[in-house]
Symmetry: C2
Subunit: 492 residues, 2 copies
């Protein structure tokens, strides 16, 4: 792909001086338009070392209101970032609605920097391309604009610029041996980058390769591409673009129905249960130490009917774990800050770091449960969510080396009613029952198909759903702990 | 202080078995009461290595709903944390209203670990005591409960426990040479810790030293102290405790009035201004590189009348900086998530890391401006804020080695009216003027004394206010840049 670019392109001063001010003004206006339309924008600026990434970034932001964008200068990951899956650090930086996130270097540079040193880099990079394309498609589907630039210069040009930087005492220290090393292997990296770009050049997140030899030409081309793309999008009626990739509603029933039942085949007395739990606890504590030592993270998701016993189950499970090695994340309706981001954003931010457990009390599955049933998102949105969630979970497992297990706590409708009444009658438990619980109960029949479809479409090899028969809460607690031990143990 | 503790205390099994269940139940109920009363709780568990910090933590959380607390296991700081002032990493972890934050080790262990290796550790620790006391007082004043435990064991007991851990293959790797080293210097550290505890034992955040030789005794005492403290607080009428330390309203006028004026003595034409700015820009860029290289952070605060030109001023200032080295933080009313924290929390989280600039477009001074004028906080709250802000800024400067400069953009009432009308008349600028602006303008006379008091009471040597005469916006821009260069340059 690179060979088709003419690196000798320049622009004369007159064209530059007459074209730029108009583009700058347009960009400023576009920023405000996109803000008013609540559209988040992601701008990626990549390129060879010394190709002008800082200069181009500086150029763009001249016209932007600094209160409306955030610039992320991507470099080596921090230790919080290194302890999490590769894309995590970028996910958490995705812009809120109406804001612009500019990435000066991005997941592309980091994927190259972090994978190429590995012997199996070809395979790793291939996996990364899938993850990146999924990530960008999900962003785009949620309404974000993504624009990617690659600043292209020749090896000779690069050498000249690096030498120039070395001569300036203010910038000399920035030219590290690593940068020279990369320069000397320019020809080796060229086809790798070429392929990387080609495989991530998509309709929803296209690349613009910029011939970056002449600085004025570079600035002008970056500006005009940016303005062109944003203008097109700002002019489109809201929702029009995302509508294009609308999925057909799945009329057919799910292919792999997951059997649900609320009462277990066997049962335990409270005493038997306690004894079994005591034995399992030792296993669990040892397992927890080993996962911590080997830096393997693990995610546990709890979903289930109201009053199915999620709270009690989580409390009991947590007792068997090292308190320093897990976090419980209670999930309720998103607050106004969270609502301004991709629906997965608020969960991904809380993903556990290497060696830790995260227990989600309700989760991203809200999208296909409460949000679907209550009409809090559109049908295309929840239809799309099954795939998005599967991709996200698979990517998590692959890139973190960790695991995900999901528990569905099942009780039947009569049992729920019994428990609701018990709660109302007990002064110590009254706080557990609210108006909302009764309202949700009225919608039981709407939740039924949503639960079935969720279990069928998102129970995967890497992140299975386990139905916990919860009419008998002692049985439920033992089964949960056993499954955590089994699935987390498999990771060792 | 330590000598008065009898480390041979034990508890018999019967007392333990009869007392604990009742305490556990009480703690569970208290958690819900405090949640309903929106009281945040901070529990600090400190102590000698192997004194039982993990065990005690584990003990406490047995009775807590895991969805309502977060456990912070404090260890070496991550690189994001290391790049910021000492207390930053704890500030950002302070609990939201109704939640409990448990710190297994805390700012105390870290202060010792990070300061003792320095030759001037005595001075450093003394400074830290002031910072910590301020931090805890501020938390308490905002309504938080703070309970601190120190688990005390003898040197012999510690040795026995460390050897025991080494014998267990699951825990052996946790006993590092550093821990043995600390053990061998037990007698050296004892008086230092003693003094540290004594100097941070305050009415608002008292220490409880626990004789931690007998494990059951330890658990029981931690539990009963915890329950006792929380019960006392849960029983108090809301607001009663914070009222006790209510400040008297300052009836007397501020002592160091800061002169404000809106029109400058000298002025620039747009062309002169451009030329001066061009020259200053070179200085600014060099300065920015040097601050980055030496890892010095810098905070710039903008406050001022509506239409005084904050936005334009920030945009121009930002243009002269390296785009990778600063963040602009637009501040508006706190969202519901932020409202559940201490009012300084949402700003402190965004403090710049070492080598970076943070530009706050409006700031924590909202507490003594809009929140005071609009009655969004009580009078004791904004009265207290002057001191809290001064402490916070001073602590920032001392502990980060960085600087803070604050600009007040002054225009007079007529000039504001002129600008409002211009904005309304210009289709490109209409977006800048809203209903709120007109409403705020009506309250000009209420803002006047608030501005005066703020400037007088919070202009300090370490974080001065600079009044920017902004009737002439070109003059204002030059003066701002000059002052940033001057104050940031002083840090080199």
């Amino acid at each position: 792909m690179f060979e088709k670019f003419d690196l000798t392109k320049t622009v004369d001063d007159k064209t530059f001086d007459t074209s730029l001010p108009a583009l700058k003004e347009k960009l400023g206006i576009l920023q405000r338009t996109l803000r008013d339309q609540n559209i988040p924008t992601i701008i990626v600026i990549e390129g060879w070392n010394a190709a002008g990434i800082t200069m181009s970034t500086h150029g763009i932001i001249q016209s932007l209101d600094p209160r409306g964008f955030t610039l992320h200068a991507t470099d080596k990951p921090g230790d919080e970032e290194r302890a999490r899956p590769f894309l995590w650090r970028f996910w958490v930086k995705t812009p809120a609605t109406g804001r612009i996130a500019i990435f000066a270097r991005s997941w592309y540079s980091r994927a190259l920097a972090e994978k190429l040193s590995n012997v199996s880099w070809k395979k790793l990079l291939k996996d990364e391309i899938i993850s990146i394309n999924n990530f960008e498609r999900q962003m785009s589907d949620s309404g974000a604009i993504i624009i990617k630039f690659f600043l292209h210069i020749s090896k000779d040009e690069q050498k000249m610029r690096l030498l120039e930087r070395e001569r300036n005492p203010l910038t000399a220290w920035l030219v590290t041996p690593r940068i020279w090393d990369f320069h000397h292997h320019y020809e080796t990296y060229l086809p790798i980058i070429d392929e990387f770009i080609e495989n991530t050049d998509t309709v929803y997140a296209p690349w613009h390769v910029i011939e970056a030899t002449d600085r004025k030409y570079t600035i002008l081309k970056v500006y005009s591409q940016l303005v062109k793309t944003l203008e097109k999008r700002a002019a489109a009626a809201p929702g029009e673009l995302s509508g294009k990739r609308k999925l057909k509603a799945s009329a057919s029933p799910p292919k792999n129905p997951v059997r649900r039942r609320s009462s277990a085949v066997s049962s335990y007395s409270k005493e038997e249960c306690q004894k079994t739990l005591d034995n399992l606890q030792i296993e669990m504590l040892e397992l927890h130490y080993l996962l911590f030592k080997r830096k393997i993270p693990f995610i546990i998701v709890y979903e289930g009917w109201d009053a199915a016993g999620k709270g009690g189950n989580i409390t009991r499970l947590a007792r068997h774990m090292n308190p320093l090695g897990y976090h419980v994340l209670p999930v309720s309706a998103p607050n106004d800050y969270e609502k301004n981001h991709h629906y997965l954003w608020r969960f991904i931010r809380h993903f556990p770091k290497a060696g830790h457990f995260a227990i989600f009390d309700r989760s991203w599955y809200g999208r296909v449960l409460v949000e679907r049933v209550e009409g809090l998102c559109s049908e295309p949105e929840w239809q799309r969510a099954y795939r998005e969630i599967n991709e996200m979970e698979q990517d998590y497992v692959t890139s973190s080396g960790g695991g995900i297990i999901k528990f569905w706590l099942e009780i039947d409708k009569d049992e729920q009613l019994k428990r609701f009444r018990q709660r109302e009658a007990d002064p110590l438990k009254q706080y557990k029952i609210t108006e909302d619980d009764w309202k949700n109960r009225e919608k039981w029949d709407l939740y039924e198909p949503a639960v079935n479809e969720m279990l069928a479409r998102t129970s995967t090899r890497h992140a299975p759903w386990i139905v916990i028969e919860s009419d008998d809460k002692w049985y439920a607690r033992v089964k949960t702990l056993k499954n955590v031990i089994r699935y987390a143990g498999d990771l060792l």
